[in-house]
């Protein structure tokens, strides 16, 4: 007769990955960002050459300046909306957070950062290099070019939405981020955010000093340096892993205690 196996230490609660990972939010975020970027790219393909070469033409106002105005309104409204929602729904009892719930929230935070990184990819890589293909081809006649309207005033505010959103999520739902300010997190969010004011310097330079279009002009080095701050995600990664390991340890202790009391 075989010896009966002892009950699993982790049978009192659900420890499957399903209990910690909720895919709905991240899928919505990633698909939403992707659809928006696809729409932007399609819009540029259709209206870039046909209506975007002459900033004095009425068609430019219709298809590009209206898009710019819509972006400025919608994106700043979304900043206000998401960030205030995150604030208003903050956890006011964070120091009593159970370890399993804390792990679940860390996974949510990682998903939030995934959406942030996805938006940053489209900004820093896809639309940024495409900007070269536009400006090295056409005669610049306005600061609001079809490339810039999407890159500077569309994708950049969008990644700021998710970057600051992820920081706020962490600070309003995770005790360690609420208790102490994480410098790598603030750098990884603040550095790319500062690219927005750097745009002013960039346009000033193009308007007053630079008549030629080349990407390696010193005028653009502000973007380069601010882009380095994304490397602070390395520090944030280490910090999140440290916290997760700690939360896992506490969850295991809690499981053991529950196992004893259930026996």
């Amino acid at each position: 007769m075989t010896k009966p196996q002892p009950a699993s230490l982790f049978s009192t609660q659900d420890y499957s990955t399903r209990a910690f990972i909720s895919w709905r939010g991240v899928v919505l975020g990633v698909v939403g960002v992707f659809c928006l970027m696809l729409a932007y790219r399609f819009y540029q393909q259709v209206f870039g050459w046909s209506a975007g070469l002459d900033a004095t033409a009425p068609a430019f106002d219709t298809y590009w300046m209206n898009l710019l105005k819509a972006e400025l309104v919608i994106l700043t409204a979304s900043w206000a909306g998401l960030w205030s929602w995150l604030w208003v729904t903050r956890d006011r009892q964070m120091s009593q957070l159970a370890p399993r719930e804390e792990i679940r929230r860390y996974v949510n935070l990682i998903f939030f950062i995934l959406v942030y990184a996805f938006a940053v990819y489209f900004t820093g890589s896809f639309f940024a290099e495409q900007d070269a293909s536009w400006h090295q081809t056409v005669v610049r006649d306005t600061s609001f070019t079809p490339s810039h309207i999407v890159l500077f005033y569309g994708t950049m505010p969008l990644f700021v939405l998710f970057g600051v959103g992820s920081l706020l999520y962490a600070m309003t739902r995770l005790p360690k981020f609420a208790e102490r300010l994480s410098l790598p997190f603030m750098l990884a969010v603040g550095g790319p955010f500062l690219i927005l004011p750097n745009l002013g310097y960039n346009e000033w330079g193009h308007a007053f000093w630079l008549m030629e279009e080349y990407f390696s002009a010193p005028l653009h080095w502000g973007f380069v340096v601010l882009g380095w701050s994304v490397l602070a995600l390395g520090g944030l990664l280490v910090q999140i892993l440290q916290h997760l390991l700690d939360a896992i340890r506490r969850a295991e202790i809690e499981a053991a205690a529950q196992h004893i009391s259930a026996a």
Binding site: R90, F126, V139, A178, W228, D246, I260, A263
Partner: protein, 282 residues
């Protein structure tokens, strides 16, 4: 961790790299590996591509900018930066020797996507004009040297030099076809020059090319090797600098939050456990 006098059930724990993990934590960790790897790939592509395109992009975008002097010198120096920083993070924290390969591969994928969708489909440039540079061989050398030596200094010297010196021969199999001589309007030009001339970049005229326009001594036409050697020297220094930038940016530093009470932490309460020790010593 187990109840006193009660042995754990089989299957509750697994051994990974000599450490005991609860099975559910190991499964969660495996899922997070995938998700976080995607984040790293996206973030590295974005940041590295932005850095590269704004410093060495002009040479990379166009076949008639890929000269024997500035392109060969500048590109490795600009490109060794993120590999060095990422090698610090991935090796020192995880002993994963993929910092260089990961960053350079991400850069290459990002560049190709941008060339296809931006330069080709939007602005109609042919691929013969806009193909991006290859740096994977140099990246592999960097990572391999790090595994074999386990030492950032040797990686800087051997790997850094290797990264720069391998740059030109890695790309020559592709570039040689664009350096064939051709006579156009009674003038000698290379095929690459003519491609750049023909497929007009309206706002980027010929004189804007920051390329070799005559050297004082070309050592029998070996400009590229001289430039590579110089680039290698600067790459060593750049690697050392950026290894430390990686160290700085991956340091976990926190400051007390004076507004903690607004964030749901009462002033006299702390987080559920004692603060985790910082592992910055590594």
């Amino acid at each position: 961790m187990t109840a006193p006098n009660k042995p754990p059930a089989e299957g509750d724990f697994v051994d990974i790299y000599g450490v005991r993990w609860s099975r559910w934590a190991a499964q969660l960790s495996a899922r997070l590996d995938v998700i976080i790897s995607i984040i790293i790939a996206l973030a590295v592509t974005a940041a590295f591509h932005l850095h590269f395109q704004l410093l060495a992009g002009d040479w990379d975008f166009w076949v008639d900018w890929k000269d024997r002097q500035y392109w060969v010198t500048l590109t490795p120096i600009v490109a060794i930066t993120f590999p060095a920083a990422l090698q610090y993070v991935l090796w020192e924290k995880f002993r994963i020797p993929l910092g260089a390969t990961l960053s350079i591969t991400c850069l290459m994928v990002g560049a190709w996507i941008a060339r296809i969708f931006g330069f080709h489909l939007w602005s109609y440039f042919p691929f013969s004009l806009i193909w991006p540079v290859l740096m994977i061989p140099g990246a592999l050398v960097l990572d391999c040297v790090l595994v074999l030596t386990g030492n950032f200094f040797f990686t800087a010297v051997i790997g850094g030099m290797g990264f720069a010196v391998l740059f030109y021969p890695s790309n020559w199999p592709m570039l040689a076809a664009y350096r064939l001589p051709v006579e156009i309007m009674g003038t000698l030009v290379s095929v690459g020059d003519y491609i750049g001339y023909t497929f007009t970049r309206t706002a980027t005229p010929e004189y804007l090319r920051f390329i070799e326009r005559g050297t004082l001594r070309t050592f029998g036409g070996h400009s590229a090797w001289v430039a590579s050697a110089f680039s290698g020297f600067v790459c060593v220094l750049t690697y050392l600098l950026w290894w430390h930038i990686g160290m700085l940016l991956s340091k976990v530093t926190t400051l007390p939050n004076r507004w903690r009470s607004m964030f749901g932490m009462a002033p006299d309460q702390t987080a559920a456990t004692a603060p985790v020790e910082s592992h910055d010593a590594r």
